[in-house]
Symmetry: C2
Subunit: 364 residues, 2 copies
C-alpha cells in the first residue's frame, strides 16, 4: 500500500529525486532537455500497475526546478489514485514543461517533447493540462501516438468538460442520496464557484433538475452569460462561504477548503470539480467531517475528464464515456459506506479504496 | 560546440538536474526506482548526435543523490568526447546504480534495471563498469538487447583489456614518434603504474619491443607475477614520480597528474590507460605542457575498451577491434599536430577535435 512512509523510503537524504519529500515510490522520473528548442521537461511515471501512466502536460514558469519537480511528483501520484478509484486500466503519471506558456511555445518544442514521450514506448501517455492546449498536442502527436485529448477535428475526444461536469453531477446526486435518502436536487440551493467550461455544464445539469443555483466567477463576462442562460443568481466569489445553501460546488480554485472557509461554510455537502479542494488532506478532511459536512472527494468525482481521454485511447465514444462517468454515482456511495464502516473521513476512504485496488493488482 | 558556458545554460538556479553544475546540455536524465528490488539508478544520456549513447553502469555506495548525479553527468559527457574522438558512431551516456556492490546485488535488481534500459529503445546502451561485472550484465541482457560487453561464453566480446592496452600502446608509440622522430620503444625506460588487466597487457607489448620496464601496484601478488613473467623491475607506487624515465604510463588511479607529481616527474612522455589523469584539465594540462612533457590525452588513447564493445554491437571480431585500436596512433599524431598549430595543450586539442566532430555532425 502506498502510505506516508513511502515518502523518503529510498533512504537517502531529502534531496533531488529519490530522496524528495514528494517522491512517494515513483517508478521513473525523466528529465528531458533540448538545447535547440529550449525544451526542459520532467516526465514523472508514478505507477504502472494498472496500466500505462496517463496524465497531462503542464507548462508553467516555475521559479526553480525543485518547484517543478515537487509539482510533477504530487500531480503524478494523484493521477494513480484517480485512475485506480475510477476503475480504469491506467496508471498515474504527469509531466511539466518549464517555460512561459505565453511566449516559449513553438511547434518544434512540442515536436521534440513528443519524441521524448515516444521514447518511453507507451509507459506514459500525455494530454493537455494547465498551460497547454489540444492544439499543442497536435504537434506532440506528429511524433508520438501516445497522446490523447486531441481536437475533435482530428478524430480526438475534444473538450472533456461536459463529461467532467456529468461525473461531478453524479457525485453530487450520490451525496444527496447519502445525506437526504433521496438523490433529487429539485429545490436544493447549490453554489457553483467558477463557471468555466466544467462549471457551466454543471450549472446546466442542476438547473435542469430544478435546483436553485448561485454562481460566482472572477470572469464577469462569462458569469453574466451563464446567469442569463440558466437564470442563476450571481454572488461574489467570497460570499459563497457565507451563503445559506445545501451544496457548495468548488469548480475553480484548489485549496478552498481551508480552516477559515470551513469555519464559515453553511452547507450540508461539498461536491465540486476543482482539484485538491482540501488545503491539507488530513487536517481539513477531518475538519469538514467534524462540522457535519459530507465531502465528495474531488479526485473521485472529477474523473470524468480522465474517463473521456481514456475512452479516446480505446476508440472514442462520447456516449460510452458518459455511461462510465455515471459509475461515479455508485463509487461515491461505496466510499461513503466505507468511510462510515471504517470510521474514516471520506477523503481517506477514497484514498484507501484506490490503494486497495493497486495492492490487489500488484499481488495478482 | 560544447563549452564551459553550456554548464548552467538551462538558466535555472544551480540545483537538481537542468541547473546542475555538471549538466552540460544532457539530452535526458532518467531516475529509475523499483521498490521490490530496491533498484535506484540514474541513466544519463548526454549526446546522441553520432549514435546511441554508450557507457557502462557503475554501482557505488554514493553518500548522496547529488554525488551520484554529479558522477553520472561527468562520466556521461566524457563518453561523448571519447566516442567522438575515436571516430565511432556512438554518443555518450553513463549510468549509476546507487548501492553497495558487495551486498546489494541480486539477479532481479539487474533484470529490473534491464527493463528500464529496454524502455529507452536503444538510445542508451550499457556495459559493465566499476562495481558491476559481465556476469551482472547477463541478467540485464535477459531483459534487453541494449547491453554489451557480455562474456565470451555468451558470444560477447569478453575482457576488453587486451584491446585497451593495445590502444594505449599505439598512443604511446605515436607519442614517441612525435617526441623522438622514431616510434620505436626499444631501450626506452617506461614506468607502468598499475599492472591489472590493462597494465599487464601494456607491459607485454612494450617488453616485446625491447623497452626497459618499471612496474608498481598495490597488489603485491599481481605485481610479483607480472615482474616474473616479463622481467619488469618492481618500484614503489610513489617512486614512479622520481624515476629517471622516458615514459610514465598511469594505468591505475586517476588524477595522478597533480601539481606535486608534475613537479617531480622526470619523463618526456605521459601515456597511460587511467581515466581522468589530469587532476584539473585546464590547470594541469598546461602545467605538464609547460614542463616540456608530451601528454597523450587519456580519453583518446584508452578508447580501446570502447572500441571493443562497439565492435560487439556490430558483430564481434577481435581482429577488427585491434585494427580499429591501431587508428589511435594516427589520431594521436593528429592531436599533437593540432595542438602545435593552434597553440593548445594536447588535452585541449583532443577535446576540441571531439567538439568539432560533434558540431559537424549536428550541422549535417
Amino acid at each position: 500500500m502506498l502510505e506516508v512512509k513511502d515518502i523518503n523510503e529510498a533512504g537517502l537524504s531529502n534531496d533531488l529525486v529519490f530522496g524528495n519529500k514528494s517522491f512517494a515510490g515513483h517508478e521513473e522520473v525523466v528529465f528531458c532537455y533540448d538545447k535547440k528548442t529550449g525544451l526542459k521537461a520532467i516526465i514523472a511515471i508514478h505507477d504502472t500497475t494498472l496500466g500505462p501512466a496517463l496524465g497531462g502536460t503542464r507548462m508553467w514558469m516555475y521559479k526553480s526546478e525543485a518547484e517543478a519537480l515537487n509539482d510533477v511528483l504530487r500531480l503524478s501520484r494523484g493521477m494513480t489514485f484517480k485512475a485506480a478509484i475510477t476503475g480504469l486500466e491506467l496508471g498515474g503519471g504527469k509531466a511539466v514543461i518549464i517555460g512561459d506558456a505565453r511566449k516559449d511555445k513553438t511547434p518544434d518544442l512540442f515536436r521534440k517533447y513528443g519524441e521524448f514521450i515516444d521514447s518511453l514506448k507507451g509507459r506514459y501517455i500525455t494530454a493537455e493540462d494547465v498551460g497547454t492546449s489540444t492544439s499543442d498536442m497536435v504537434y506532440v502527436h506528429e511524433r508520438t501516438k501516445f497522446v490523447t485529448g486531441l481536437p475533435e477535428s482530428m478524430g480526438g475526444s475534444g473538450d472533456p468538460s461536459p463529461v467532467t461536469a456529468y461525473g461531478v453531477y453524479m457525485g453530487m446526486k450520490a451525496s444527496a442520496m447519502e445525506r437526504w435518502g433521496d438523490d433529487s436536487l429539485r429545490g436544493k440551493k447549490i453554489a457553483v464557484q467558477g463557471v468555466g467550461h466544467v462549471g457551466e455544464n454543471l450549472v446546466k445539469y442542476v438547473t435542469e433538475e430544478g435546483a436553485k443555483v448561485y454562481i460566482s466567477d472572477i470572469n464577469k463576462e462569462q458569469l453574466e452569460a451563464v446567469s442569463k442562460k440558466y437564470g442563476a443568481e450571481i454572488v461574489s466569489p467570497d460570499a459563497v462561504y457565507d451563503l445559506d445553501i445545501d451544496i457548495y460546488a468548488p469548480c475553480a480554485l484548489g485549496a478552498t477548503l481551508n480552516t477559515e472557509h470551513i469555519g464559515r461554510l453553511k452547507c450540508a455537502i461539498v461536491a465540486g470539480a476543482a482539484n485538491n479542494q482540501l488545503a491539507d488532506e488530513n487536517i481539513h478532511g477531518k475538519m469538514v467531517t467534524d462540522k457535519g459536512i459530507l465531502y465528495a472527494p474531488d479526485f473521485l468525482i472529477n474523473a470524468g475528464g480522465l474517463i473521456n481521454v481514456y475512452s479516446e485511447i480505446k476508440g472514442y465514444n462520447r456516449e460510452a464515456s458518459l455511461e462510465q462517468a455515471k459509475n461515479i454515482y455508485t463509487t461515491t456511495l461505496e466510499i461513503f459506506k466505507k468511510a462510515k464502516l471504517e470510521n474514516l473521513t471520506t477523503a481517506a476512504a477514497a484514498r484507501m479504496l484506490a490503494e486497495e485496488r493497486l495492492l490487489a493488482a500488484r499481488k495478482a
